[in-house]
């Protein structure tokens, strides 16, 4: 279960923005999709979840753990949150081989030195993701799809309790996108931990969403059961447009719309 109440404002930025969201995601669905236009606060929410950005106030609870509580002055740093993060551009370390990348969470100050046990473990993860033969390659020598799998392998090798995927397909061309969506869906389905996925592609929503969070101008609305709702519409685009219109009709902000 994820319970989120976040407030964060950037008043002095070139484009003033404030994030003000409050929702709770139950355990009935393993995957949660954050959907909305760019600049609506999806990535910022994810960075707060991961501990990379400190909110101004609110709370973040994951399962039984309090990761952040503004009033009690609790802030668990990113290092100790056990949350896996797959960045939009995958953020593989360009100076390390694939194996060193995947083993990074288990190595010391010097990431080039991987002990045999870690090496074996990282190799096994790479094999599971079908890129074991690329262990000694640098990220720059990999294709987009291979990089994505490597980034996922690296995040999972750290043993996270929650996986965050920030626009997993935005770095890929449209043809590859379709194929990789299937692939990623399969990989995520095989995991025991929940995943939160950011996207602004209705196709992704259809593929991944259990619960759906609609983002707009720093506000968020929870759609507890997207799959149920989706049955009444011909395409994901129609369904999402209907949801957005419904929210707009209820007036913005309209957390109560659903």
């Amino acid at each position: 279960m994820i319970s989120l109440r976040l407030y964060k404002s950037f008043k002095n930025a070139a484009v003033p923005f404030s994030l003000d969201v409050d929702y709770e995601i139950g355990d009935e669905h393993k995957n949660v999709v954050l959907f909305g236009p760019s600049g609506s606060g999806k990535s910022l929410t994810m960075q707060c979840l991961a501990g990379l950005v400190r909110p101004d106030s609110g709370h973040i609870r994951l399962g039984g753990r309090t990761l952040y509580d503004g009033q009690a002055n609790v802030f668990v740093p990113a290092q100790r949150r056990r949350i896996g993060y797959m960045f939009q551009d995958y953020a593989l370390f360009p100076h390390l081989t694939l194996l060193q990348n995947v083993a990074y969470s288990g190595t010391g100050l010097w990431p080039w030195r991987v002990c045999p046990a870690q090496q074996e473990r990282a190799q096994a993860v790479l094999e599971r993701f079908g890129i074991g033969h690329l262990a000694r390659n640098l990220p720059s020598q990999l294709s987009g799809g291979q990089r994505q799998r490597a980034a996922l392998a690296r995040a999972l090798n750290a043993g996270p309790e929650l996986l965050l995927l920030d626009e997993p397909f935005s770095a890929l061309d449209p043809l590859l996108r379709e194929r990789l969506r299937e692939e990623l869906l399969e990989l995520i389905a095989g995991l025991t931990i929940p995943a939160v996925i950011i996207t602004h592609d209705p196709g992704d929503v259809d593929a991944f969403a259990g619960s759906l969070i609609l983002y707009d101008h720093g506000h968020a609305r929870l759609v507890p059961d997207y799959t149920e709702l989706r049955r009444g519409f011909g395409s994901p685009g129609h369904c999402l447009r209907h949801l957005q219109e419904q929210a707009a009709a209820a007036g913005c902000p309209a957390e109560q719309a659903f």
Binding site: A78, R80, F93, W110, A158
Partner: protein, 226 residues
């Protein structure tokens, strides 16, 4: 004419030793400072940044004067240093202190720029993988900023070789002890010993050119290995 080897070798050796030590000390201090101040905003970091850059714009004689106030026999730290048995004035270590301060901003500036250019996603990725801030710096930021920092080190070494003003103020101009190439050239020229001055100028130029070429070669080799 005095070309018995000592008068050229000794200032060259001293210059290399002073510039090398100063670059090394400054590398550690300036890179750590750049790490602490990189991507920081606010009045305090701005002030520290200005202080770190100051030696670049102040005349070396002013720096020398400050250093004497600080580490001179009657300076702020002078007593303390004397008790520890360290005497910087009129010693080659004093020349190192002078050169360290003079080259500090060159390394600091390039290190800060290089560290700030490292993709912050990569540093964040390391954090989510459990790496402490120090480990993020050593294993991700530093290796990725290395080229920029290395360029700064080369510049610093070259500048250290040519350091004159602050060194003269704090270490003096004692042949065989604190007389670096730059000082020896001035000395020879003043004494009308033009041949000696010419030789020293040639040696200095050759040393600097070969240094810069070696640095370029090193960077190229590293690039090819990747």
């Amino acid at each position: 004419m005095d070309l018995d080897g000592i008068s050229i070798w000794s200032p060259l050796e001293l210059s290399l030793r002073v510039a090398g030590t100063a670059t090394l000390v400054s590398f550690v201090a300036a890179t750590l400072m750049a790490w602490l101040l990189a991507r920081k905003k606010g009045p305090m970091p701005a002030l520290l940044d200005a202080l770190c850059t100051l030696p670049l714009v102040l005349p070396p004689t002013v720096l020398g004067y400050y250093l004497i106030l600080l580490v001179g026999r009657r300076g702020l730290l002078g007593h303390w240093l004397a008790e520890m048995g360290i005497n910087l004035i009129f010693s080659w270590k004093g020349a190192v202190v002078a050169a360290t301060v003079v080259v500090f901003p060159l390394i600091y500036k390039s290190a800060r720029a290089a560290l700030e250019q490292v993709d912050s996603h990569l540093e964040n990725a390391a954090r989510t993988l459990g790496a402490s801030e120090w480990r993020v710096f050593v294993s991700v930021s530093l290796p990725l900023a290395w080229k920029g920092i290395f360029a700064g080190l080369m510049l610093a070494f070259a500048r250290g070789m040519g350091e004159f003003g602050a060194t003269l103020m704090i270490a003096g101009n004692i042949p065989g002890k604190t007389q670096t190439l730059a000082l020896a050239i001035y000395d020879a020229f003043q004494a009308g010993n033009d041949v000696q001055a010419t030789w020293l100028v040639i040696v200095t130029s050759l040393a600097c050119v070969s240094m810069l070429m070696a640095a370029e070669l090193l960077l190229k080799l590293k690039r090819r290995r990747r």
